[in-house]
């Protein structure tokens, strides 16, 4: 294929390669070669290979590209590594010093899912976050994994938002973008609410499938078929795109960014959006716009450890335990 690529795309600024490929995978080696030959912007579109036409190379208009390629938006959050957060025993407050900030682990499943879809069907993955300037690190990680571009919503006016306003702010930005899929993590590990995803879906007026642990597209690539975790097992749910999904454990194994990815991430487009460029009434954003309000925070009631015995004589220890439980009426 690459042999014919040179003459065909020479001299064009923007070219789309439609690759007829049974395996549905686009070889990155091939893309690199083409770039070298042409020095033009390259977009790859996959067209299903029905088996009778020979693989051939062509170029299409930009509008056709938009129709074909899957557009995926992944809203992510930077969170403190909750496992490292300790509590000051005296004051009962959180010790945040030295606690690293990470890309929310559930969001990694979402990023990975988006990249896998892109690799299979072609398309573009946009990573979106709302957060302080340092949240850029979370975006860079997602870009290093394989996201194509990022949007960083950062403004003092966004700060202190509860779940509803967070969803509203993100959704207002998403409304300005094209998308077939919005994939969120199931929940952020600091707040654990699992609310922002469904709230975005509602504001965008699109259907949602939550707690997704298996994902595929229908034959015609218009529908999503997902396994949504329930309390008893899972539901197999089908929905027409655009649709919002929330990703949970088991969906995939998020890749670790490699050096190449990390270096490329810094060069990928990163757009900054503030309240003004978003064009939304600032009184309805951030803490000011939040319908819920934190009144008080306090340390959880610490359960004191009870009896603790050494099992030097297992038999005696077991007897003591069973007597304790019987006395409490527990067995």
């Amino acid at each position: 294929m690459s042999v014919s690529a040179g003459p065909l795309i020479k001299g064009l600024r923007r070219v789309t390669l439609c690759i007829y490929d049974e395996s549905r995978r686009v070889s990155s080696k091939y893309c690199n070669l083409s770039k070298k030959v042409t020095n033009c912007k390259l977009r790859i579109v996959r067209i299903p290979y029905n088996g009778d036409t020979l693989p051939k190379l062509t170029h299409t208009r930009q509008s056709e590209v938009n129709k074909l390629a899957l557009k995926i938006i992944v809203p992510v959050k930077q969170v403190p590594e909750v496992a490292d957060v300790k509590v000051n025993e005296e004051t009962g407050t959180l010790i945040r010093d030295g606690v690293p900030s990470i890309l929310n682990p559930f969001d990694e499943y979402a990023v990975e899912a988006a990249i896998q879809l892109k690799e299979k069907y072609g398309g573009e993955v946009t990573i979106l976050t709302m957060g302080p300037p340092q949240a850029k690190e979370a975006l860079l990680k997602a870009l290093a994994m394989g996201g194509d571009k990022a949007v960083h919503m950062t403004d003092r006016a966004f700060a202190g938002a509860d779940t509803w306003v967070t969803a509203l702010t993100l959704a207002e930005q998403i409304k300005k973008m094209e998308y077939d899929l919005v994939i969120c993590g199931k929940q952020a590990i600091d707040g654990d609410t699992a609310q922002v995803g469904p709230e975005i879906a509602e504001i965008l007026r699109i259907p949602q499938i939550c707690y997704v642990r298996h994902l595929e597209l229908s034959e015609d690539e218009k529908f999503v078929i997902a396994h949504s975790e329930t309390d008893e097992g899972y539901d197999v749910i089908r929905a027409k795109m655009p649709v919002l999904l929330t990703a949970t454990k088991g969906l995939n194994e998020p890749r670790l960014p490699n050096i190449m990815g990390i270096m490329q991430a810094k060069k990928k487009p990163m757009e900054e959006v503030n309240a003004e460029t978003l064009g939304y009434d600032v009184d309805k954003l951030g803490l000011k716009g939040s319908p819920t309000q934190v009144r008080k925070v306090f340390p959880p009631e610490k359960k004191k450890g009870g009896i603790k015995i050494e099992a030097e004589d297992p038999k005696a220890a077991a007897k003591e335990l069973v007597e304790f439980l019987a006395a409490k009426g527990a067995i």
């Binding site: 004051t91 699992a194 509602e202 329930t230 749910i237 309000q293 306090f298 359960k303 009896i307």
Partner: protein, 399 residues
């Protein structure tokens, strides 16, 4: 809402920096500096400030408009026609809240052929049951249930709506709340009414490291999801009377944008659900090999208990995901929780520390699980557990 800091009044005692949970206050010379990106205006600093240098201005509340909203509502989830356990927990708690407000408790029953449960809900404390019974609600879908709840809530104006924080409850509640631009507090572990008749919603955050009290001061209804197994269901009172009202509602298939192709039940035959069991025998990494799970299973059988697992052993596939206890698994609150070879990472504790009685057996005397255990045995599970099984058998035989 804004925070005002009177720098001249501040004597630099630094008390506020110590109580801030959000790292928003820093020492700045003899005074302090506020980082409003981190501040959530929780008011902890305002409370401790001796110099009266911190003022938080909150929005003015239109009390008259809010007062139009009355009654406590609970959504009583059904699954395959069966009333879920959390429904009765919510009705019991809802009764308590309604009594404090001097208002009615309304139970919402949505599904197909589920009307028989209305009596049960009245016996547990409901004054009024709204029944929406239609074939289109036989299976849970986000769209159908959201439409049903919004249709009920909008004209009737309840003050409070509670949902169980089950997988469907956590799918539905944000959708309903967002449609009406309302606040929603997730996974509450405590609910109360304050002097101003507001719902005080208490929930854990940061993996259970801190608790937050949350209000929805400006919007009604106030909405919250409540973790299953946190509140206890009350005893039914069969002499109670209430009103059962059927609401006709049909959802057109075009309004339902997702289609459930198949519902898969993953519960392994004979394996009890950890969420519903009174006793759980839970194993961790200390069990070493899947074949060793026979011991916990034996004990579970004797105690009519569910067999649970911590995240590492579920990740290894030794037990199905339905049996995982902890933050990324199920939250449980049994009468008795027996932890075998579980060290007790904060994520695990977040899922089980509210159990009535916790027993831990672990080799490591420093394991955090002992900090929450009512009875801990420091020792090898493989020598202790068989003795425990024998001792249980013995005491059961004596009865």
């Amino acid at each position: 809402m804004t925070l005002e800091y009177d720098i001249d009044a501040c004597t630099g005692c630094m008390l506020c920096t110590k109580v801030c949970n959000f790292g928003a206050i820093e020492k700045d010379g003899d005074k302090v500096k506020f980082n409003m990106d981190l501040c959530v205006l929780c008011g902890s600093c305002e409370e401790v400030c001796k110099d009266d240098a911190i003022h938080i201005e909150r929005k003015i509340i239109d009390k008259e408009a809010l007062a139009e909203y009355k009654d406590v509502w609970v959504w009583c989830e059904t699954s395959e026609g069966r009333l879920r356990g959390v429904a009765l927990e919510l009705v019991t708690k809802g009764r308590e809240l309604a009594d404090k407000l001097g208002e009615k408790l309304v139970a919402i029953l949505i599904g197909h052929e589920i009307e028989a449960h209305a009596e049960t809900l009245i016996h547990h404390g409901a004054d009024h049951v709204l029944v929406v019974d239609d074939k289109s609600f036989e299976q849970y879908t986000t769209d159908a249930y959201t439409i049903a709840l919004n249709t009920l809530i909008a004209p009737r104006k309840p003050a409070i709506v509670l949902y169980g924080a089950t997988s469907h409850g956590r799918d539905l509640a944000p959708r309903v709340a967002a449609r009406m631009a309302l606040g929603l507090t997730a996974d509450c572990t405590g609910l109360d009414i304050d002097d101003e008749r507001q719902l005080v919603q208490t929930r854990p955050a940061f993996g259970g490291n801190i608790m937050a009290e949350i209000l929805s001061p400006y919007t009604r209804p106030q909405m919250a999801t409540v973790r299953p197994n946190v509140f206890k269901p009350g005893e039914p009172d069969t002499s109670r009377n209430g009103k059962i009202e059927k609401v006709e509602m049909t959802i057109s298939p075009v309004q339902i944008r997702t289609r459930v192709l198949e519902s898969v039940n993953e519960f392994v035959e004979g394996m009890k659900s950890v969420e519903e069991a009174d006793v759980i025998v839970c194993s961790g990494r200390g069990i070493k090999d899947p074949s060793n799970l026979d011991l916990p299973k034996q004990l579970a059988e004797l105690l009519d208990a569910a067999v649970g697992g911590s995240r590492p052993i579920v990740d290894l596939g030794w037990l199905p995901p339905s049996q995982q206890v902890g933050q990324s698994g199920r939250t449980v609150c049994p009468k008795l929780y027996i932890a075998l070879g579980i060290s007790g990472a904060i994520q695990h504790l977040a899922g089980m520390s509210s159990s009535d009685i916790i027993v831990a057996i672990n080799k490591d005397p420093e394991a955090p699980i002992f900090e929450v255990a009512d009875f801990g045995i420091v020792g090898d599970i493989f020598t202790v557990l068989p003795e425990v099984i024998e001792a249980v058998k013995k005491i059961q035989a004596e009865r």
